[in-house]
């Protein structure tokens, strides 16, 4: 049975929060969806404040995060703005993350360097990775190709999540210890139907 998160959203949210084992089969199937796995890892590590800008590849994930009751989630107008909002939330004791498109990571580099790195603020940036895997939009390619080298130059650690969501836990662990930004590229292959 295929579970459509958008159509069965209510059911999914209920399953996620109820802790009920009544329908184990359905629950397992829902929980194996990459979006749910990512959300559960974020919850497990205490991320409770997010900013979002849409990308078609992660629309389900953004939808889930925005409905997650343990998180305050703010849609922003530009990614750099989101970096500032996350910094302010951190000052007040929140654990912030961003959920954006990789092109917007490009828009945010100065803020990540001059605000997040300078003040030693832990910030997890989840970026839908465009220009990387079977990309159909040519304009995504130049920045997508260069981003890993740009992050290297800025000494911002990152990982590319391709198949296994569990890898995200390593980024979350590093993000606790480092008091610095950490970027996680979410490859489109992560969300492909198996």
């Amino acid at each position: 049975m295929k579970v459509n998160t958008t159509a069965d959203e209510k059911q999914t949210i209920q399953l996620l929060h109820s802790g009920s084992h009544n329908d184990r089969c359905l629950r397992d199937q829902v929980f194996s969806q990459p979006e749910i796995r990512i959300l559960r890892i974020l919850r497990k590590f205490g991320y409770d404040f997010g900013v979002t800008l849409p990308c078609n590849k992660i629309k389900k994930l953004i939808d889930l995060v925005e409905k997650e009751p343990s998180m305050k989630v703010i849609p922003v107008t530009r990614e750099e703005e989101g970096v500032g909002i996350c910094a302010g939330a951190y000052l007040a004791g929140k654990k912030p993350f961003m959920l954006i498109q990789s092109s917007g990571l490009g828009n945010s580099l100065n803020a990540l360097a001059s605000l997040i790195k300078t003040f030693e603020i832990p910030l997890l940036v989840l970026a839908s990775y465009r220009g990387y895997y079977e990309e159909k939009i040519q304009a995504q390619i130049p920045l997508g190709n260069a981003l890993p080298r740009m992050l290297d130059a800025l000494e911002i650690p990152f990982m590319i999540l391709k198949k296994d969501c569990k890898e995200l836990e390593k980024a979350c662990e590093a993000n606790i210890d480092d008091q610095a930004p950490f970027a996680v590229f979410l490859s489109p292959e992560l969300f492909e139907d198996v």
Binding site: E80, G84, G88, L91, N110
Partner: protein
């Protein structure tokens, strides 16, 4: 009224409120007027002072006073839409408008031309906006905003400064740590 006059009025008026001040001369003037642990001085990321203030206001209950400028607001105009729509009731956004980039040599901004920042804030959805042109007005309006709950935008018309301010003698991590400590004390 110069920026230093406006900053002095603000710093005399506030009590326990949290201050987030803009990069460059505004932060330096806040620092030299009344340094305190509850001031967060921005040192980079031009334009993001209102965004930092929003994140702070949405994440705790104490009042946040944001000291922004015209050039800085113009570079992050989307922030006004986000703030107005999120509408935290504990945020006062003060736009010190000298019509120029005061920290880099007083080059004109469009706020000195046809663009009215109070009008922009209104159009973005701010319900309470004020425009003040002297210290007395600023003091009165700020006093009202501090006493009452609700998101406010105060557009402060000032003259471009001629003098420069001295640097802030704190490193960034110290600014952050003492600010956070004062907030959680």
């Amino acid at each position: 009224m110069y920026r230093s006059d406006a900053v002095r009025v603000v710093m005399e008026q506030i009590e326990d409120e949290l201050i987030v001040s803009n990069i460059g001369d505004p932060s330096k003037e806040v620092y030299h007027t009344r340094d305190r642990a509850r001031n967060f001085y921005m040192l980079g990321s031009f334009g993001l002072v209102s965004s930092i203030s929003l994140g702070l206001a949405l994440s705790q209950e104490e009042k946040v006073v944001c000291i922004d400028g015209d050039g800085s607001l113009l570079t992050n105009l989307g922030s006004l839409a986000t703030i107005a729509n999120q509408e935290p009731d504990n945020l006062i956004l003060i736009a010190l408008d000298n019509g120029c980039y005061g920290s880099t040599g007083n080059q004109k901004t469009y706020a000195s031309g046809l663009t009215d920042l109070e009008g922009v804030a209104k159009s973005c959805g701010f319900k309470r906006t004020h425009k003040v042109r002297d210290q007395f007005e600023l003091s009165n309006v700020l006093n009202t905003c501090l006493k009452n709950s609700g998101l406010c935008f105060i557009h402060v018309i000032i003259e471009p400064n001629i003098s420069k301010s001295n640097n802030i003698l704190l490193d960034p991590v110290t600014i952050k740590n003492r600010f956070m400590k004062s907030l959680h004390a």
